[in-house]
Each structure stands twice: as structure tokens, then as C-alpha cells.
């Protein structure tokens, strides 16, 4: 699933229906996630397995919070590959391509959700 809107709804409920907070959080996620994606790409280009782990891990946990399970799974795959020092699989582009695609999908739906909220 690209975006599980129920996660965002639950979050909104949990903060007492403060939807602008959730909107703000999603925007933070997108801005922050761009940075992690760049860091992952840089680390891969440098063949630095250890440097992949931190941004991949952060992206994984943030995306779970905003209800993007597919993205979380893709980031987790990269984190695990990085931890295992097995960069070939990732650098071989398959996983990185999956990550980029899931990122694009997730952020597109998140932006749409934000647009719906702020309309």
C-alpha cells in the first residue's frame, strides 16, 4: 500500500483533531525524506555501506509514522543491505530504483492528501 490514510487519521485523532499539525508533519516528512534520499544515493555512489544505514533507517521509521508502508519496506531493505555490507544488490540499482519509485508514489499521495486538507 502506498498510503494508508487511516494512519494519518489516527494521528490526527491522537493529537485532538489538530489536522494542521498532521499537515505540517507530512510536509516535514517530505522535506526531511528528500535529504535522506540524497544521502542514501551519495553513500551508494561512494560505496559506503555504513553511511547508507542511518538515512535508510530514519526514512524507514518516519515513513511508517506518516502511513507509507511500501516506502518503509523499501527503505528497510536498503538499511538491511547496508548493515550486511552488501551494497552490490543496492548499487545494482534494483533496490534503489524501488526506493525512488515508492518515494515518488508516497510523496505524490501525501501531497494530494495535504492538498485536500488545505483546500
Amino acid at each position: 500500500m502506498v498510503l494508508d490514510v487511516s494512519v494519518l487519521e489516527e494521528l490526527a485523532d491522537a493529537v485532538g483533531g489538530d489536522r494542521p499539525f498532521v499537515v505540517d508533519l507530512v510536509e516535514t516528512f517530505i522535506a526531511d525524506g528528500e535529504q535522506q534520499l540524497t544521502e542514501i544515493a551519495t553513500a551508494l555512489a561512494a560505496g559506503d555501506a555504513a553511511a547508507v544505514v542511518r538515512p535508510a533507517h530514519t526514512l524507514k521509521s518516519s515513513s511508517a509514522t506518516v502511513g507509507a508502508p511500501a516506502l518503509a519496506a523499501a527503505a528497510r531493505a536498503i538499511e538491511l543491505a547496508g548493515r550486511a555490507g552488501n551494497l552490490e544488490a543496492v548499487a545494482g540499482d534494483a533496490e534503489m530504483r524501488v526506493l525512488r519509485e515508492t518515494w515518488d508514489d508516497a510523496t505524490r499521495e501525501l501531497r494530494a492528501w495535504v492538498a485536500g486538507e488545505t483546500a
Binding site: A14, G16, D18, T28, D32, H57, T58, S61, T65
Partner: protein
């Protein structure tokens, strides 16, 4: 709810969610991106925080390692730590709880569960703070008492100083009867010496004499009742019980007499003729706090005190006069020479006594 929580999570998104919830509960918050930063903040101001919310899985220093570092540091080990984890990380949570984490939360955060866990942790922290404050007061009190004891032991006999802070101290101070041996000693020729000597010379001689007495009293475990110029009264078997109280008294007096001789020889060269004399008696006395509100001494009252005092007055230089009763209790240990029956001031009948020649 009040207090300050440190939120440690590598994801800014997750931190913001937690901070939002905690602020909703009335807590102030600080954030750290990873374990090392959290430890820096905690070390910089350990008293600033009341609670730590720690993500289990973090790159670099993870939750487990951060917790381990906290528990190894006495300044922050008491802070309650709530582990925050995904459902798939429960094994790590168990390890953290074994290591001393207070509680755990799973993501996504449920506000009511968060509130309950935070409440419980803060209550535990509050209790711990009270305990620490209490312990600090107790330590301050104990050190005050120790200091007082040290000071008291300078003014009082060490036995009495100890007695005052002992469990049965109050009972003993209130007054009790006991068989004791009393030693009085003073200096022959002191009055005329005091009239003629410079005050500095007088204090110097008294100082040497008192030092000699003090050492002997401590060596033999006597209780010093009072000093009065050249006169001194010491008793044995109270407040500390001593089976051999008469022997101790006699040995102390003999020791003082022996050590007095070289002192007296030195004084003689300076023109002072001073001699040591003592009286020893054994009998029942009433002991305890004597005096008035504001100034009490630990003292002994009874015929035995008067008897020892009179014997001391009667003693010539180098004589240690022993009452008959005291002598009877240490016959095997001391060699005496009879001095016959003495007529003592205030005593209706003459009193048999002997002079101690030596003691073993």
C-alpha cells in the same frame, strides 16, 4: 503533569509526534537525534530531566547502548527511561527492560497509554528525588552528630561523649547506682607554687602535668570527672563496665607516680618543689547528669567520692592511699604498706588505709 522529558529518536517526524503528545500532557521537552547527543545533554545537566523517551532502534548508538551508558553513570542512572519501539522490536525491548528501562511504548503512540506510562515514571522519579533529598539530610545530620561527638570528646571524657550518643545514653544519664572506684590526685606544694610563680610558668607546669594525667587516664580507660587546677577526679567502671576497675585505678595511679618523678625533677631544678599524691576508694555512687539546665556534667555522688578525696588530701608526696575496701579487691595485685588508721575530715571514725608501693 510537570517536568522535562528528553525525546531521543533519529526521525524528526517521530520526535515531533512524541513532543506534541508530551507537551499536551504539560511536559517541557528537549530533543536528541541519537544516543550520543542524548548522553551529552544528560551529562551537561543531569538535574534538568525527569524522564527520557528512547527509541530502541537508532543508527550509531542505539537505544540499548544508550540505556547501558546511562545505567553505568551514577549521575543519570536514576532517570526513568521509557523505550519507544515498533511492534517488531519487542525482543530488544525486553533486553532494555532487563537492563533497567522503566517501561516501553509501541509506535504508533496511543496518547492514553503514553499518559499512563509517563505518569507512572514521573511518580517513580519523584519518589526517588524525595529519597535522595532525605538521604542528603540524613548524611548532613550524621556528619553533624559525628562532629559534635568529636568536639564533645575534647571537653568530656571519651566514654561520656560516647555514652551521650549511645542507645541507653538517656537512661544512664538520668541517674543510676553503681559500684565504682574513684581516684583523686593533686599536687603537694601546688598552692605555694601558684602564689609565687608567673602565670605563664604556672600554666606551663600545669600543662605538662595534665598531659601526663590525660595519657594515663586514656591508657587505663578511666572516666575523667573533672579537672580543677592541680586536682583531678577519675572514676572507673562507669559508664563503661570494667570488671577490673580497682586494678585499673591502682595501675593508673602508679603509672602517674612513676612518670611524675622525672617531671618533678625538672621542676625542682627550676626551684619548684611539687609532689604527687593520690587517694583511691571503692564503693557505690550515684552517677549521671549533675548540674542545672544549661550546664550539666556527668558526675558521681557518694561517700566513695568523699573518701577518695579525703585520702588524696591526706597523702604525702608520692603516696597513693588506698581504702580498705579497694585494697581487699586487689590484694593479689598490689604491694602495700599500712599507714594505720587515718582521721579524715568529715569522717566520724578513723579509716584504715594503706600506701601502694607497687602494682602488677
Amino acid at each position: 503533569m510537570s517536568g522535562t522529558a528528553l525525546v531521543v529518536d533519529d526521525s524528526v517526524v517521530n520526535r515531533r509526534v512524541l513532543v506534541r503528545h508530551l507537551e499536551g500532557l504539560g511536559l517541557a521537552t528537549l530533543e536528541a537525534e541519537h544516543g550520543a547527543q542524548a548522553l551529552d545533554l544528560l551529562h551537561a545537566a543531569p538535574d534538568r530531566f525527569d524522564l527520557v523517551l528512547l527509541d530502541v532502534e537508532m543508527p550509531e548508538l542505539d537505544g540499548y547502548e544508550t540505556l547501558a551508558a546511562m545505567k553505568a553513570d551514577a549521575a543519570i542512572r536514576h532517570l526513568p527511561v521509557i523505550m519507544v519501539s515498533g511492534v517488531e522490536e519487542l525482543d530488544s525491548v525486553v533486553r532494555c527492560i532487563e537492563l533497567g528501562a522503566t517501561d516501553y511504548l509501541t509506535k504508533p503512540i496511543t496518547p492514553r497509554i503514553l499518559e499512563a506510562r509517563v505518569n507512572a515514571s514521573l511518580a517513580a522519579k519523584h519518589l526517588h528525588d524525595l529519597e535522595v533529598a532525605h538521604l542528603e539530610r540524613l548524611q548532613a545530620l550524621t556528619s553533624t552528630i559525628e562532629r559534635q561527638k568529636t568536639e564533645l570528646s575534647r571537653f568530656l571524657s571519651p566514654q561520656v561523649a560516647t555514652l551521650i550518643s549511645s542507645d541507653d545514653g538517656e537512661e544512664l544519664l538520668a541517674g543510676h547506682r553503681r559500684l565504682i572506684t574513684v581516684v583523686f590526685c593533686d599536687l603537694r606544694g601546688f598552692t605555694s607554687f601558684a602564689e609565687g610563680a608567673d602565670p605563664e610558668e604556672l600554666l606551663g607546669v600545669l600543662g605538662e602535668y595534665h598531659r601526663l594525667l590525660g595519657e594515663a587516664i586514656i591508657e587505663h580507660g578511666g572516666t575523667l570527672e573533672h579537672f580543677a587546677g592541680d586536682g583531678v577526679m577519675v572514676f572507673f567502671n562507669d559508664p563503661v563496665l570494667q570488671d577490673d576497675h580497682v586494678a585499673r585505678a591502682v595501675r593508673m595511679a602508679v603509672a602517674i607516680r612513676e612518670r611524675f618523678a622525672p617531671l618533678a625533677a625538672g621542676w625542682r631544678k627550676r626551684g619548684y618543689e611539687l609532689g604527687f599524691g593520690a587517694g583511691i576508694a571503692t564503693g557505690y555512687a550515684t552517677l549521671g547528669r549533675i548540674g542545672f539546665e544549661g550546664r550539666h556534667d556527668y558526675g558521681a555522688i557518694g561517700n566513695v567520692v568523699i573518701m577518695a578525696s579525703r585520702l588524696s588530701s591526706k597523702a604525702e608526696a608520692n603516696q597513693i592511699l588506698l581504702s580498705q575496701r579497694a585494697h581487699a579487691m586487689v590484694e593479689d595485685l598490689v604491694e602495700v604498706e599500712p599507714v594505720g588508721e587515718l582521721t579524715l575530715k568529715g569522717m566520724s571514725r578513723p579509716v584504715p588505709a594503706s600506701n601502694v608501693v607497687s602494682a602488677s
